[in-house]
Amino acid sequence: MKKKNGSVLETLDHKLTVAEAYALRPRKWVLYTVIVLILATLVGWSGSDVHFSGLTSTGSSVARGVVSGIFHPDTSLMFGTGETDVPYLLLQTIAIAILGTLFGSILAVPFAFLASTNIMPRPIAYLFRVVILLIRTIPSLVWALMWIRVTGPGAACGVITQSVCSIGMISKMYITAIEDLDTKILESLDAMGCTPFQKIRYGVIPQLTASFISTTIYRFDINLKDATTLGIVAAGGIGSSLMQCLNSRRWAMVGSFVWGLMLLVVVIEFFSTKIRTRLAHGE
């Protein structure tokens, strides 16, 4: 459309009046109709199977309970220091995320190097990419359910689950960083007669650190949110207690857990964004 307009404008020897320019405006109604039609079909198709079967008999009381719990949280639980209180569980969630992210980011390094096309031959690189894709596709909850058979329920299961889950996304982002490596630096180090170790120390590591750390912090952010849900399958953290309270309908306790959760995520997100912008723009 644009090109056509351009050619029309070039052939004209006088300036277009507003009315003429308006008549030549790009018209995309065909595209819009197609988009709307596709959307309508999809919604109609998917809406046919999602039935609103009314509230459950206790539905309205659950809704009221959740709202009242959020506005009247259990303060003794919220500020207690025992093993079942909110602060301890929040700290445990953070601990799970720290260990999971650290182990994951270390485990991801070999995967990332093996899957980079500028380091490894293409067939091997693609093989490792498929492995990474497989790791990424298995939902973290499923990983947790499988690891529980090994470690038993508890925070340790959360740690190992997150270490494995993180590999997928972290190595995917590491690969981009590795493939963007400036090889000229390595060549000049070669020309200076550097040993392979020196080449890695002065040519590779400085180029990768910033993006690796940024990726790791970003993943920490995600892992923290993930760690809160892992508790649902008894893999430690705040999720287990929240789930138990929801199922036994102790709304005041639910409220205090939800407040703790929100506070945790907001604070961590704030700091992680701050550190990452600093890493991206230099000191």
């Binding site: 919604v43 206790t58 596709t137 939902p139 939800v258």
Partner: protein, 292 residues
Amino acid sequence: MANIFTYNHLLIAELVVLAVALVLTLRKPEVITTKSGNTVSRPRSPMGVICTLLVLAITWALHMTGFQISVIIQKGEKIVAILEKLFRPKWEFFPKVIAPLVDTIKMSILGTVIGCAAALPIAVLASSNIDHNKFVVSLLRVILGLIRTLPTLIIALVCALIFSLGTFAGTVAISIFTFGIVAKMLYESIETIDMGPFEAMEALGANKFQAFWSAGVPQILPVYLSHCLYCFEMNVRASAILGYVGAGGLGITINERIGWRDYNGLGMVLLTLLVVVVSIEFLSEFLRKKLS
């Protein structure tokens, strides 16, 4: 009973190490005198403090979670056995995967559409360049922020308790979650649009809605659609596990397979999920490239 302050005696040793590292790092910068007599100061590297903090964090976290690498090494063959079964999917199970899979896709389509549609007006109200009412803007942003902090599974669990088990609860959960994310991404994009045409329309006497409709919408529509597609991609992944808390879809099947320790069947479910997720990702990436 363990307490938030319970910690082993390692802490004291670590604090000493940390103090030493701090002192080493915060020393005066090293001063180097060159042959010409000029002096150059070289600041100390902060690596000492960072490493100590890291070690401190790791030992604290290990203590907090009770994670032991020896358990993994001793019982490692169990996970290997499970993974081995996963990679030999039971093909006969495929027909039973289709119905829940279609449910999952339907749930995520409907949830995404509802969430994205609801996000549009709220995002406009929450962008500070269109809406000059500071109170409304910050209120909406706080609400959106709070919605985003809630994990999808928790929302789904509450929805399942309210709306009975099934796909409706899942759809509501996905809508809420999508709404939070798309509205945030959208108001960030709206704030970067070129305000020239908008102001020109207002100067010509158009009201805010007319001005936004003709000057803002053409600018944000491609971005909006691409956000929606991105969210749809995420939702397909997320909705696959919503069934675990009773919100319908593939999660129920997954939970059932794991409960029966039928890992070959689970492998089939995951394989189907992989194919669907990858093809949706390809499609959405293709469409998003077209949009930009």
